[in-house]
Amino acid sequence: MAKKNRLKDLSFGQRIYITEILKGLRLTLKNMFLPKFTMQYPEVKFDPPASYRGRPVLAMEENGQERCVACGLCSRVCPALAIEVQAAETENEKERYPVKFEINMLRCIFCGFCEEVCPEEAILMSKDYELAFTNRADAIYGKDKLLTPVSKLQDRINFVRQFK
């Protein structure tokens, strides 16, 4: 469309407003009958794409063990200081594992640095976005809440391998 935005450039029809107002009215009337975009949330849930950064979780192998080797890089890189890791030795091949792995969900800013820095693909951003707590203690997620089977995270793992 031609750039006509000064009063002196307007034609008589545009100056008397009425035709332009009718154009605007026609547009809104047309939109009233177009399909709606609203997602009726509690009934219909949003299924995020793989690039979605939801709640960070720890990947759990089929044998029930976490991938994490408790190197502490995620804890170091976390800008909000939300992650706390305590390492211990184990008889397994990987030799180290986290005794304690806590993410304070009140602090987490969902930046995804932990996932980016992780050498083992152990911490990943899930698609979980329903995070509501009734008290502060509930907001600190321990290993019991963080461990998620790898099968459920395959989408994100593929995404991370492609773009990291």
Binding site: I18, I21, L25, L27, T28, L29, N31, K36, F37, T38
Partner: protein, 341 residues
């Protein structure tokens, strides 16, 4: 009719009108939200009851339970008086506007109007002018700069647009040769609607009606981005609800006034050719009035979600340099028309 009978009939009419007005106002708010949502490709309120039908009641309950705050800097009496004036004006104006023709039942003549006043249109104009006081008082007495600015803007705006409104109405009165609303409607029988006879007058009146009711695109008194809430910034609870109600009630009254003055009131062209029984004719005519009213109210909401707000200088320019001369031109045109007809 005896005096007692008159009082009883009038009381019934008043109660019916008041209840219908309150219900219409609450559902107007609901439809405002619904239409806004539709225009923006959303669904709108749909949680309270089926399709959100009971949303207005939830809103009113919420407002009733809110704390009523009067600022310390406010003039308490004026602060309380302002919403009362607003409500009073909004609800008393409808008294003179006829919904349907008079009919005979049980050997007596009834009319669909609370008070058939011979200066009805003057009464409406006078009361809407009193409505300016509500907004000016609320702005001044709140002791807040935003309220004050909103109130001042509103009084300037309403006074400016009252002139073009008055001149547009003068055109209608000139053709009907009466100030009585029923006579004005009767003068528009058939296709002699004033919107056909004086389209310029219709447009000036419509624009002035938008300005008088403080609706977008003329809602400068409560321009949210500049003035927080405008004149009702410092109001809460039911006092705020009173302003809210009166705004929507004013919308109904303006719509009814537009229908009465320009869209032929309850008239349906060529209805007499169908030769229906009298009862049917009256019912159809009342339905016609209500349908016209609903269309104009829909138009009010529709315009609100289509057109952005005017700047203050643009508002004054349109009011004084466009609407005022146009309404004078219309008056001239009607004077010529009255000589020919």
């Amino acid at each position: 009719m005896g005096i007692l009978e008159l009082i009883i009939v009038s009381l019934i009419k008043i109660i019916v009108i008041a209840v219908v007005m309150l219900l219409t106002v609450s559902y107007l708010v609901y439809f405002e939200r619904k239409i806004a949502a539709w225009a923006q490709n959303r669904i709108g309120p749909n949680r309270v009851g089926p399709a959100g039908i009971f949303q207005p009641f939830a809103d009113v309950l919420k407002l009733l339970l809110k704390e009523d705050i009067v600022p310390t800097a406010a003039n308490k009496y004026m602060h309380t008086l302002a919403p009362m004036i607003a409500l009073f004006v909004a609800f008393s104006t409808f008294a003179v506007l006829p919904i349907g023709p008079s009919f005979t039942a049980f050997g007596k003549v009834f009319s669909f109007v609370v008070a058939d006043v011979n200066i009805g249109i003057l009464y409406v104009l006078a009361l809407t002018s009193v409505g300016v006081y509500a907004i000016t008082f609320s702005g001044w007495s709140s002791g807040s700069k935003y309220s004050l600015l909103g109130g001042i803007r509103s009084s300037a705006q309403m006074i400016s647009y009252e002139i073009s409104m008055g001149f547009s109405v003068a055109g209608v009165i000139l053709l009907a040769e009466s100030l009585r609303p029923i006579a004005i409607v009767n003068a528009q029988s058939g296709w002699m609607w004033n919107i056909v006879l004086q389209p310029i007058g219709f447009i000036t009146f419509l624009v002035s009606a938008f300005a008088e009711t403080n609706r977008l695109p003329f809602d400068l008194p409560e321009a949210e981005p500049e003035l927080v809430g405008g004149y009702h910034t410092e109001y809460s609870s039911m006092k705020f609800a009173a302003f809210f109600l009166s705004e929507y009630a004013n919308m109904i009254i303006s719509s009814a006034l537009i229908v009465t003055l320009y869209l032929g009131g309850w008239q349906i062209p060529y209805l007499e050719m169908l030769k229906l029984p009298a009862g049917w004719v009256v019912t159809l005519q009342v339905v016609a009035f209500i349908l016209k009213l609903i269309f104009i109210m829909f138009f009010f909401i529709w315009v609100r979600w289509s057109i952005p707000r005017f700047r203050y200088d643009q508002l004054m320019n349109i009011g004084w340099k466009v609407m005022f001369p146009l309404s004078l031109l219309n008056l001239l045109w009607v004077a010529i028309l009255a000589m020919i007809l």
